[in-house]
């Protein structure tokens, strides 16, 4: 109705016509900008489209097809080869197990530490703070040798448990500080009234403070999720002698090493590896963006 009205009224009078041309002209620079950015954006998603296309081509076609995205005939066998022969099904399960447990561990331990450091005075608080801040940023390459050594002594070197513990024990100081900053600005009366209502230390944390910190939990969850899903150095070192413990990223490297010519199989493996996280990202996009943004805003 209203659209038709607009069209009719635009046709009716010259004045209206001029108005819409002016409007178009005013919008034009933005459309040009959008076109320019769009070309750039294509550069950003093309490799992914190309990879999915390559995963359905036959091995020879990958080399001859050049830029084309669509295969002549879809070869689903590439996927079965990557999934069962090369073990990517197993790698996917490993990655999910490692990522989920690491995220849970990190969120819990950082929330607890952040809460205590923000809201309690206790002997040794300063020491804990100084140690945390002094080690705010430690690259994996710096600590990896002793981490491997101690894991071996604990009998955890070639195991997923060892991998998870090492991943959740490294860095993450920023997450503690995010929780700390958030908890510190909550009013003290919250705890006081909860104490009057008879809530104990643990209940105050679990039923009042932690739910309040949901935005921080979302940020920490996403950052840890991304970091762990993508982790490479630690999983690589922890699965040297146990190929069945490889995660997706480590498996990918081994796959290329073992099958240096099987590019379509590689593309299928890469597609299997990337699909879950890309789907998750598209579904939860807003939270991803807010999570990353939350890190810089605070």
């Amino acid at each position: 109705m209203s659209v038709a009205d607009e069209v009719l009224s635009a046709r009716r009078g010259a004045g209206n016509n001029r108005w819409s041309t002016a409007r178009l002209l005013r919008r034009l620079p933005w459309w040009i900008a959008a076109a320019v950015i769009g070309i750039g954006g294509l550069l950003w998603i093309y490799p992914f489209l190309w990879m999915v296309g390559a995963s359905l081509k036959n091995p020879l076609e990958v080399f001859t097809a050049g830029l084309s995205l669509l295969p002549e005939k879809a070869e689903w066998s590439n996927y079965s080869r990557a999934w069962s022969d090369a073990g990517f099904g197993k790698y996917l399960i490993n990655t999910v197990i490692v990522t989920v447990t690491t995220v849970i561990l990190v969120v819990l331990r950082c929330a607890m530490a952040g809460y205590v450091l923000a809201r309690q005075t206790f002997f040794g608080r300063k020491v804990v703070m100084v140690v945390l801040i002094a080690t705010l940023f430690v690259p994996t390459g710096y600590t990896i040798i002793p981490v491997v050594e101690i894991s071996e002594q604990l009998g955890l070197l070639n195991s997923l448990t060892g991998m998870v513990l090492a991943l959740s024990g490294g860095a993450h100081v920023a997450s503690i500080l995010l929780y700390l900053g958030y908890f510190r600005q909550l009013p003290r009366e919250l705890e006081e009234s909860a104490v009057i209502d008879g809530a104990g230390f643990f209940n105050i944390f679990a039923r009042i403070m932690l739910p309040l910190a949901n935005p921080v939990t979302a940020t920490v969850t996403l950052l840890t999720f991304l970091g762990t899903w993508n982790a490479f150095f630690l999983p690589l070192v922890f699965s040297f002698s146990r190929p069945d413990l490889r995660t997706l990223s480590v498996g990918m490297l081994a796959f290329v090493g073992e099958n240096s010519t099987d590019w379509s199989g590689m593309a299928a493996a890469a597609s299997i590896s990337l699909l879950p996280v890309v789907v998750l990202f598209i579904l939860l996009q807003r939270y991803f963006v807010e999570g990353i943004a939350g890190a810089v805003k605070s």
Binding site: P139, F201, N230, S249, V296
Partner: protein, 323 residues
């Protein structure tokens, strides 16, 4: 991520606590809970971060191949060897060069794009945001492997385009040529992590209140004046933080380098972490003491970057409170 306030209990809160009557057993029980809550962090962080930092120093003074238990004390010999190794300095130089190349490019390009993407007048802005962010969520190691093919001299898409456009006759061996390998990795790295810095800038732009723009627009300021006199000055503190975050993250290029080039060709892309990895894990006879010495030297450099970061944040806080 590392920008959060360095906490110090405000004096006002401390006195309020002292004024309160002592709670006796409750206080005691609280202390127990406090340490119970800290246990996971103290244990995990202690075992996997604090201890390794200290142990690295100890390892750096011994000769040790990692296979047998005996470590021979060699004093400063490892350090002497590391500092005398031209390949260590090569890797150090490449690490710094990589930082210097990536940081300004990435920070400025993302700022430009964020300024445009921030305007509600731009069509399809959500779609663009998604497109630029997509590589961020994908696994670095896999990107590295896929990029090996994308830059393949014979049939990789990049060379196909260059040939079709008539820019080159034969394919360029981007990753196989020591002259181009590092710059190719720089490009891929910027491509991969572009989205994060973009989101940082967009978040920063969100903090500029609309009223300021409206008021200035009423006063007759055009888009350039708005940008020059309002947006950019207000972004200054964020610029410091974003630059430092970007700087810091370039130190973690290990995954991408290892999967794309493995430090080669001829050590042209060997950053310090790959150097450490090579001596500690990829060598037939690992030299863990030697690698630890390299790690400690690298750690000192990282510490320096960290200090720079703290100083930067201090400076930002000062300008904020001055306003």
């Amino acid at each position: 991520m590392a920008v959060t306030a360095v906490p110090e209990a405000p004096a006002e809160r401390r006195t309020r606590r002292a004024d309160r009557p002592p709670k006796g057993s409750r206080q005691g029980r609280n202390q127990l809970w406090v340490w119970l809550f800290l246990t996971p962090t103290v244990v995990l962080y202690g075992v996997y971060t604090v201890y390794p930092i200290i142990a690295s120093y100890w390892y750096s003074f011994v000769e040790w191949n990692g296979f047998d238990a005996d470590k021979t004390w060699v004093g400063l010999a490892n350090y002497k060897a590391v500092l005398a190794d031209p390949l260590f300095w090569n890797s150090f130089k490449i690490t710094v060069l990589f930082m210097v190349a990536v940081v300004p490019l990435k920070v400025l390009l993302t700022l430009l794009l964020a300024l445009v993407l921030n305007s509600p007048k731009l069509p399809l802005r959500t779609l663009f945001r998604t497109a630029f962010f997509l590589p961020v969520v994908t696994t670095t190691a896999i990107v590295g492997v896929v990029m090996q093919f994308v830059f393949d001299p014979a049939s990789g898409p990049v060379n196909v385009v260059l040939r079709e456009l008539g820019l080159v006759a034969d394919g360029i061996n981007f990753l196989g040529d020591p002259k181009t390998a590092l710059w190719t990795v720089v490009g891929v790295y910027i491509w991969k992590w572009f989205g994060v810095t973009l989101i940082y800038w967009l978040a920063a732009l969100q903090t500029v209140p609309d009223e300021v723009y409206e008021a200035a627009a009423i006063d007759g300021a055009g888009p350039w004046k708005l940008l020059h006199h309002i947006t950019l000055p207000l972004l200054k503190p964020f610029a410091v933080i974003i630059t430092l975050l970007t700087l810091e993250s370039t130190l973690k290029v290990f995954d991408l380098m290892l999967t794309m080039t493995n430090g080669g060709p001829f050590y042209a892309t060997e950053v310090v972490e790959i150097y450490i990895y090579r001596w500690a894990f990829a060598a037939t006879v690992p030299q863990l003491g030697f690698a630890s010495a390299a790690a400690v030297v690298f750690g000192l450099f990282v510490g320096l970057v960290g200090l720079l970061q703290l100083a930067g944040i201090r400076a930002v806080r000062k300008t904020r409170s001055d306003r």
